[in-house]
C-alpha cells in the first residue's frame, strides 16, 4: 500500500495564502481600530474613561449618548454648526459660480496654452497652506476681512476652486463633442446649449464637485484658525481645537469629532470615484 505524499507546492501555496490573509487582517485592523475607538469613546460613560488605573475597557461599561445630548443642549454649539454651514454653503456657491464657467470653457474648447493655464490656475495651491495663510491673513487684515464670514468664504473658495475646475472640466469633457454642435446647427444659441444641454448632462460631476467643496470647507482648519482666530465666529474645527486646549473629558472630544466626521465620511464614500480620480490624476505618468 502506497502512502499519499503531500505535494510541497500545495504547502507553499497554503502558506502564501495564510500570510496574505494575516496581512489583510492586520491592514483592516490598522484602518478600523482607530475609528472604532473614536466611536467607542464618544459613547463612553465617565467610569469607562477614568478607570482609576484599571484597563480602559474595549467597550464602555455603560454606553451612553450623554456627550451628544450635552453638546446639543449647548446653544453655543448650535451657533458653531450654523457658522460652519453658512461658510460651507457660501463657499460652495461662490466656487461653483466661478468654477463651472471656467470648467465649461476648459472642457469644451481648445484654449491656446491650456496646460500652462491649468498650471497657473493650480499654482496658488502648490504653496503649503501654512505658508500661504500668512500673506492671505495679512491681506485680509488690510481689507478688514479678518474675523468675518466673507474672509473665511473667500479663503475657502481659494482652496476649493481648483478642484471644482478640474472635476467640472472632466464632467464637461465626458459629454460627446458633437452634441452641442448639433444643437447649434438646429438653431440653439450658446447660452441655450450650455444651460439646456451641457449643464444637465454635467450635473453628476458638478454635484460631486459641490459636495467636495462643502466638505473641504466643513473640515478646514488652518485658514479658519488664522482668519477667524478663536474669536466670535467659531466653526466646528475651531470649536474642537478650543476644546482640545482645555483637555475636556475625552468622550466629549470624541463626540465632537464624530459629529465633525460623519458628513465627511458618508459623502466621501459616496464620492469615492471622484476622490480617487482627483488623487491619481496627473500623479502617475
Amino acid at each position: 500500500m502506497r502512502m499519499a505524499v503531500p505535494d510541497p507546492s500545495l504547502h507553499i501555496k497554503r502558506a502564501k495564502t495564510a500570510l496574505w490573509a494575516a496581512a489583510l487582517a492586520s491592514a483592516v485592523l490598522l484602518v478600523v481600530v482607530p475609528v472604532y475607538l473614536l466611536v467607542k469613546y464618544s459613547i463612553s460613560d465617565a467610569a469607562s474613561i477614568n478607570t482609576g488605573g484599571a484597563p480602559i475597557p474595549l467597550w464602555p461599561y455603560h454606553p451612553t449618548f450623554r456627550s451628544f445630548t450635552y453638546l446639543f443642549s449647548d446653544a453655543h454649539f448650535y451657533g458653531v454648526i450654523i457658522n460652519s454651514l453658512i461658510i460651507a454653503v457660501c463657499t460652495v456657491g461662490l466656487s461653483m459660480c466661478l468654477g463651472v464657467p471656467a470648467a465649461y470653457v476648459l472642457g469644451r474648447f481648445r484654449v491656446p496654452g491650456r496646460r500652462l493655464l491649468l498650471l497657473g490656475l493650480i499654482s496658488v495651491r502648490l504653496f503649503p497652506d501654512i505658508a500661504s495663510v500668512i500673506p492671505i491673513t495679512e491681506f485680509f487684515i488690510r481689507l478688514r476681512l479678518q474675523n468675518t464670514y466673507a474672509g473665511a468664504i473667500l479663503a475657502h473658495t481659494l482652496l476649493a476652486l481648483p478642484y471644482v475646475i478640474f472635476i467640472g472640466m472632466s464632467a464637461f469633457e465626458s459629454i460627446p463633442a458633437d452634441l452641442d454642435q448639433q444643437a447649434r446647427v438646429l438653431g440653439a444659441n450658446r447660452f441655450s446649449v450650455f444651460f439646456r444641454i451641457l449643464l444637465p448632462l454635467a450635473v453628476p460631476g458638478l454635484v460631486a464637485a459641490a459636495i467636495y467643496t462643502f466638505l473641504l470647507s466643513w473640515d478646514e482648519f488652518i485658514f479658519a484658525y488664522f482668519i477667524l482666530g478663536l474669536g466670535k465666529i467659531s466653526t466646528l474645527t475651531l470649536y474642537l481645537k478650543q476644546k482640545l486646549a482645555y483637555s475636556p473629558p475625552q468622550n466629549l472630544l470624541a463626540a465632537i469629532s464624530v459629529l465633525l466626521s460623519l458628513p465627511v465620511i458618508v459623502f466621501s464614500l459616496m464620492l469615492q470615484k471622484y476622490m480617487t480620480t482627483g488623487i491619481t490624476t496627473g500623479s502617475v505618468k
Binding site: 477614568n50 476648459l106 496658488v124 491681506f139 482640545l244 469629532s257 465633525l260 465620511i265 464614500l269 502617475v284
Partner: protein, 299 residues
C-alpha cells in the same frame, strides 16, 4: 487673410470669457501670496517704521536656534516619514493587487482614513496616546491579556520631542496611506503580467524579475508617491500642532511666530524657507528618479 484671422481671434476670446473670473481670482491670490510673502520676509520693523528691502528678518530667522531646531526636526520628519508612507502604501497596494471576494469593499474600507478630517485624526491620537492613561499606554503596560507588557511605566507621549513628533508622523502616515496605496495600485495594475512571464520563460529568477521588470515599471508610481508624500511631510501642520505642541516643525513654528510672538515678518521668512525646501526636495527627487530609471533600464 488678416480679416479671417481677426475673426477667429475674436471668436475665441468670445468663447473663453467665462474662464476669466476664476482665472483672475486664482492668479490674483497667487500674486498676493507671492508679493506679501516676499514683502514681509524682506522687511524689518525699526523704531516703529518698516524698512524694505532688508535681509534683517531673514538673517535673524536663520540664526535663530529655534528655527534651526525646527528645520532639523522637519528634515528628519520628511526623511523618516516619506519612506514609511511608501512602505505602508505598498503594503496596502500589494494586498489589493490580489483578486479576492469583497475586494471593492476592502478597497473602500482602506479609503476611510482619507475621509476623516485631519483634525479629527489628530484628536483620536490625542485621546489614544494620553498620559498616564490612554489605550496605548494601557496596551504597552500589558493591561490587556492579548498583548505582552513592553514598558513598566506609562510613556508621556506628548511630553517628549521624539515621541510627540513620532506620533505626529504616525498620524500623518495613517491619514495619507490611502493616497499612496491608490497611486501604487495603479502602478501595479499597469504592469503587463506577460512581461513578467516572458522574463521567467527566458530564465530570469525572481530577484532579477523584480529588479529588472517590476521595479523599472513601478518607478513612475513610486517616485510619484515619494515626491508627493515628501512635499506633504514638509507641509505638515495639524498633527504636530495638536500633538507635539512645543516641539516645533517649520509649519508649527510659522504659527507660533505669527500668533504667539506677533512676528509676521519672521513667520513669512520661515514660510519662504519652507517653500524653498519643498522646491529643492522636488528637484532632488526628480534628479534621483531620472538617474535611477536610467540605471535600472541600462542594467
Amino acid at each position: 487673410m488678416n480679416e479671417s484671422w481677426e475673426k477667429e481671434k475674436r471668436f475665441k476670446i468670445h468663447e473663453v470669457w467665462p474662464l476669466f473670473p476664476a482665472a483672475v481670482y486664482l492668479v490674483g491670490f497667487l500674486i498676493i501670496v507671492g508679493v506679501y510673502l516676499l514683502g514681509l520676509s524682506f522687511s524689518i520693523e525699526k523704531n516703529g517704521a518698516t524698512a524694505f528691502p532688508s535681509v534683517g528678518t531673514v538673517s535673524a530667522v536663520l540664526s535663530n536656534p529655534e528655527f534651526r531646531r525646527a528645520l532639523l526636526d522637519t528634515t528628519l520628519f520628511v526623511a523618516v516619514g516619506t519612506p514609511l508612507e511608501l512602505a505602508v502604501g505598498l503594503f496596502l497596494a500589494l494586498i489589493l493587487y490580489q483578486q479576492f471576494r469583497f475586494r471593492n469593499f476592502i478597497r473602500g474600507l482602506f479609503l476611510i482614513p482619507l475621509a476623516i478630517p485631519v483634525l479629527v485624526t489628530a484628536t483620536i491620537l490625542f485621546i489614544l496616546f494620553d498620559y498616564p492613561g490612554g489605550h496605548v499606554n494601557h496596551l504597552l503596560l500589558g493591561h490587556y491579556g492579548f498583548f505582552p507588557a513592553l514598558v513598566h511605566v506609562p510613556l508621556n507621549w506628548r511630553g517628549s520631542e521624539f515621541l510627540a513628533l513620532g506620533i505626529s508622523m504616525l498620524g500623518k502616515v495613517w491619514r495619507d496611506m490611502p493616497i499612496s496605496m491608490l497611486i501604487l495600485l495603479s502602478g501595479l495594475n499597469a504592469i503587463d503580467p506577460e512581461l513578467f512571464d516572458a522574463a521567467r520563460t527566458m530564465g530570469a529568477g525572481l530577484r532579477r524579475r523584480i529588479w529588472h521588470v517590476v521595479l523599472p515599471l513601478m518607478i513612475p508610481s513610486m517616485s510619484a508617491v515619494v515626491l508627493l508624500r515628501s512635499i506633504e511631510m514638509w507641509k505638515e501642520f495639524i498633527f504636530p500642532f495638536v500633538l507635539a505642541g512645543k516641539y516645533a516643525l517649520l509649519g508649527t513654528l510659522i504659527e507660533s511666530m505669527y500668533n504667539d510672538w506677533g512676528n509676521s515678518s519672521g513667520a513669512a521668512a520661515v514660510a519662504l524657507v519652507l517653500v524653498l525646501c519643498i522646491v529643492a526636495t522636488t528637484f532632488v527627487f526628480l534628479w534621483i528618479t531620472e538617474v535611477l530609471r536610467k540605471h535600472l533600464v541600462r542594467t
